[in-house]
Symmetry: C2
Subunit: 691 residues, 2 copies
Amino acid sequence: MENMFWLGILGAIISLLFAFLQSRKVMKFSEGTPKMQKIAAAIRQGANAYLRRQYKTVIKFYIIMVIILAVLALTGLVSKFVPFAFVTGGFYSGLAGYIGMKIATSANARTANAASESLNKGLTVAFSSGSVMGFTVVGLGLFDISVWFTVLKYLFHCGANEIATTMVMFGMGASAMALFARVGGGIFTKAADVGADLVGKVEAGIPEDDPRNPAVIADNVGDNVGDVAGMGADLYESYVGAILASFAISAAAGYGWAGMLLPLLLAVVGVICSVIGTFFIRTGEKADQKALLKTLRTGTYIAAILAAVAAAPLTYFIMNNMGIYVAILAGLVAGCAIGYFTEYYTSDTYKPTQELADASSTGPATVVIGGISLGMRSTMAPILIVGIAVLVSFFAAGGAGGFTKGLYGIGISAVGMLSTLGITLACDAYGPVADNAGGIAEMAGLGEEVRERTDALDSLGNTTAATGKGFAIGSAALTALALLVSYVDIAAGKMAAAGKVMDITLVNPPVLIGLFVGAMLVFLFSSFAMSSVQRAAQSIVIEVRRQFKEIKGLMEGTADPDYAACVDLCTRGALKEMVVPALSAVIVPIITGLILGANGVIGLLCGVTVTGFAMAVFMSNSGGAWDNAKKYIESGTHGGKGSDCHKAAVIGDTIGDPFKDTAGPSLNILIKLVSTVSIVFAGLIIAFSIM
Amino acid sequence: MENMFWLGILGAIISLLFAFLQSRKVMKFSEGTPKMQKIAAAIRQGANAYLRRQYKTVIKFYIIMVIILAVLALTGLVSKFVPFAFVTGGFYSGLAGYIGMKIATSANARTANAASESLNKGLTVAFSSGSVMGFTVVGLGLFDISVWFTVLKYLFHCGANEIATTMVMFGMGASAMALFARVGGGIFTKAADVGADLVGKVEAGIPEDDPRNPAVIADNVGDNVGDVAGMGADLYESYVGAILASFAISAAAGYGWAGMLLPLLLAVVGVICSVIGTFFIRTGEKADQKALLKTLRTGTYIAAILAAVAAAPLTYFIMNNMGIYVAILAGLVAGCAIGYFTEYYTSDTYKPTQELADASSTGPATVVIGGISLGMRSTMAPILIVGIAVLVSFFAAGGAGGFTKGLYGIGISAVGMLSTLGITLACDAYGPVADNAGGIAEMAGLGEEVRERTDALDSLGNTTAATGKGFAIGSAALTALALLVSYVDIAAGKMAAAGKVMDITLVNPPVLIGLFVGAMLVFLFSSFAMSSVQRAAQSIVIEVRRQFKEIKGLMEGTADPDYAACVDLCTRGALKEMVVPALSAVIVPIITGLILGANGVIGLLCGVTVTGFAMAVFMSNSGGAWDNAKKYIESGTHGGKGSDCHKAAVIGDTIGDPFKDTAGPSLNILIKLVSTVSIVFAGLIIAFSIM
């Protein structure tokens, strides 16, 4: 069985090849008029410049960390592979984001141009671009895991358990990069968006994406560096993290090679099913929005069903334990169910968002209160679903008989949930491309009809993004639980060796305090993320106001605004502001560990996971609902665009921006980064903690 | 030693007597002009009518619960004393709130009238009224505990341990009443406040408390039923809960009578020190606001220092263990420290609130984002302080040698924190009276100077309220931890008897899921509380708009608005809306227990406590900062009243209303009610749970 791991590399090649073919397909389309090409070039240039500067900043952090890890490796406190693995994890995570951004900035004008021919052509370009990203993320993830596996097994002749417990440490590099990308990109995009909206829409009363708005290019750059590159790095990390956590628990459960082969082959099967699923995404030339949604859903569900079917014989042959198959199914079903409820709470075709739109009739305050209340309420379904999935996975996988066997069930259910990531991420990543296409159509003056089509694509993107977020959040919770279990397993061995007592019962004060600190970290991190956006946005507001005032003829359309100034402001703001939140996620678990010991760290991990999960759902859904309540009003209810209701809803939407695109999704990464940091530094903490 | 418990009754009598004398002092002042008397009567009548209807609603819940508890008592699943204790706890909690409301509604016009003579006289009336409330709460609490103690010991001849484990169940009645009072009163007051502000201040542009606003009487009624009656019931429950939890842990630690006598006598000493403290609250005739704050602080700190000094010999003679004294000190210091940081984050004399006011220059969205960020950031200090207090108390009280002895330290530190509640609550409860006095001064047209004085008193009240909230939140966290420990102790015995295994390690799936459900309950409860306010406020907005439109001559001051209609709407809204959040706190732990067993319940309690504590601090401080940022702008910065900045700040303040006065403080009660419900139903849950 240990010789079948080359299938992982095969899966990686299939995935990357498919991504390459899709990108060729995109590039065959025309970028449209010279004006469109010029706008697209400006966006591309801004996004490129930002990402290059972001990576330059992050590299400093990586150099420092590698030095620290190298010292720890030399003193035997971490495995000698960790420094190298840390770098590759960060590199591939960053690369996934970069490739996603590259194709997205090439596809935006092409989508707009294709949409001027037909809705369906627009969909084809945007979705193909999204699938480049989806399959790149999956392919790079499988590649990184398989290569390391091969190196450890055939070059260093490590055994199954050693490979498993070593590789779980590799997640940290990917998580750290993902956090920088999500937070930095999230601050960039929302500073630009909030800034553009506050002055453009609210004060000056010009439409969204109006070329007279100096922040409009920055806003479109932001979609690419935040929603695309940030998301790519994020989901790369989720995907790799879930597989590696299963590896580690497999070792604890005594499943040997088989327990590691299953998650890897599940992922490979998922790639193939996802590729098949994409072929079902097509519509007739006269498709409306509903038909578009239907075809995307069909593709996703076909991939999921195929994966569910294929997983049965796979599990049977590898593990000969169909309880584990039930755990995989539980993960797949839970992902879809969370996606459904996310859509229920955030789409304007359901009551919650419609009622939120009603609240706008009594002004912005009630919209804000209503949106916060909606988001908080929406935490119930995902938490119950994850709870049920955990219970089902645990007991189905044999938790009543062997505790660690049950925990393996939880780990594998996370892999099940993410197995068809290729296609779910494609649906998710297509949204920002459509959003950009709309911006370009507006700026290039492509006319009402084209704008309507790109709006339809964009609005559809919001819905698919909801489903994608469901998978991201649900898998983050399950992966974090799996990482927690790995940590407990690793720490227990090290503590016993150091003569310390592991007591992780809930009445042990260090555990309780760890829980409190974990909850605190979630609040603190969210606060940092939001105040960063606020500060960066305020600087944009001031700059846009300045340009409106000082550039003569700007409002009349006879002079061009200074777009580059806003892009530059956003870049500097994001790079400056991303450091503190990202570092807090690395430093807090280490300090907590040094004071409260490993027992306290376990409390911390639980506190971060539990509170972070609820907070992430709350923030994402509040933000999503505000956005769609505004769109609902713009579609003509409550007086439509320009009414008092609309103004109130725009304020809600603006507040929701950092909720749903900066703090919320970053929390998914935070809960995993804290776990991987704790795992990597377990040796150090247990050796030097004062408790 | 067991014969010294009569001192508890003596303490109760001293406290109640002092409250009576203070109320006589208040009543000697004049209520002012006939117009003032008329307004005060309207407020009094509205508050009375609301409280009577609230109690009538709550009584139904109590009848159902008593029947359930009686059935459980007959089947032996709860102690036979529980149904009676449940009723007395609820009764005294409600009574404490009622008396507080009575004196506050008698003192408001008297404060306004006294303020027309001098600032100092205004302070005297308002503070005396606050101390009636403070000492009534403490007196009734001591009385209830001492009487039950006497009945159990001398009538039923129970031993120390039996008394301790029985009496901890008594908290549930008080907690349930407190939750109804806080939630119901909180919805009433904020529906009226939000409704009055949204239409009056924002839309019609008339000042706060303008008599032309139809919701103005309801707003003033709300201060009394929410901020006074609700807070009274709340802190009654905190006070009693902390003492009873110490009783229960004392039994587990094997401290017998001595371990119970110490918290009781600490409370008695605290009463005496608080009474002495009040005599230091006086100023010269020409005092300014700063001098007022100084005198209130002096009184509070003198009481705390005296209590700290007196606790030393007390602890020495009763327990002969000065480590426990350190735990008491840790509690007292932690309470003051949390109060300081609450003030730092919410007072406009410090940077955070001033920066929040700056954010208003870019509109309401940045004010809201900034306020949420500020509140989330402010969770750090209280959580670290509580964490340190827990560690210090645990180890000082001997946790390294005997685990339960350390836990007793945590319980007694909560009692230490609350020992001078008499005076801290007096400072807190004086605020709403001053607020009401300002309203009456405005409505009765008492002139600019008087209004300035009542504003000074009111603004001071906001600061002292911050300190009071620090104590309320900090003690809630410590008490909840003590109750958690009691629950674990009680459940361990019952589980062993039922042949079930207690496993509360953090990797046991029911424990983990319990944690998630606990976090979820906090979000869900907050959502309910806020959407209740939103719905009730929307009905007020519509009614006020209707009156402005339909009552001719209202804006010109020639016709009176229909105040009663708004009071009635608020009453109906609050009574209807308070049921779901309050019931969720009772039902969720029972259902969780029946499915996940006692292990899951312990996870739930930790999840609720940890997430609830952070959320309560966040919501209270965000709300407080928005309120004071608005006041800061009104004081003349950023363009002052009527400027765009002011309008943005008013929106922030309006959103903050349900944060700081409905959801936030209710969470303090929630975390304790969930614990006491779990304790009472432990027998039922362990007998019938499926896990």
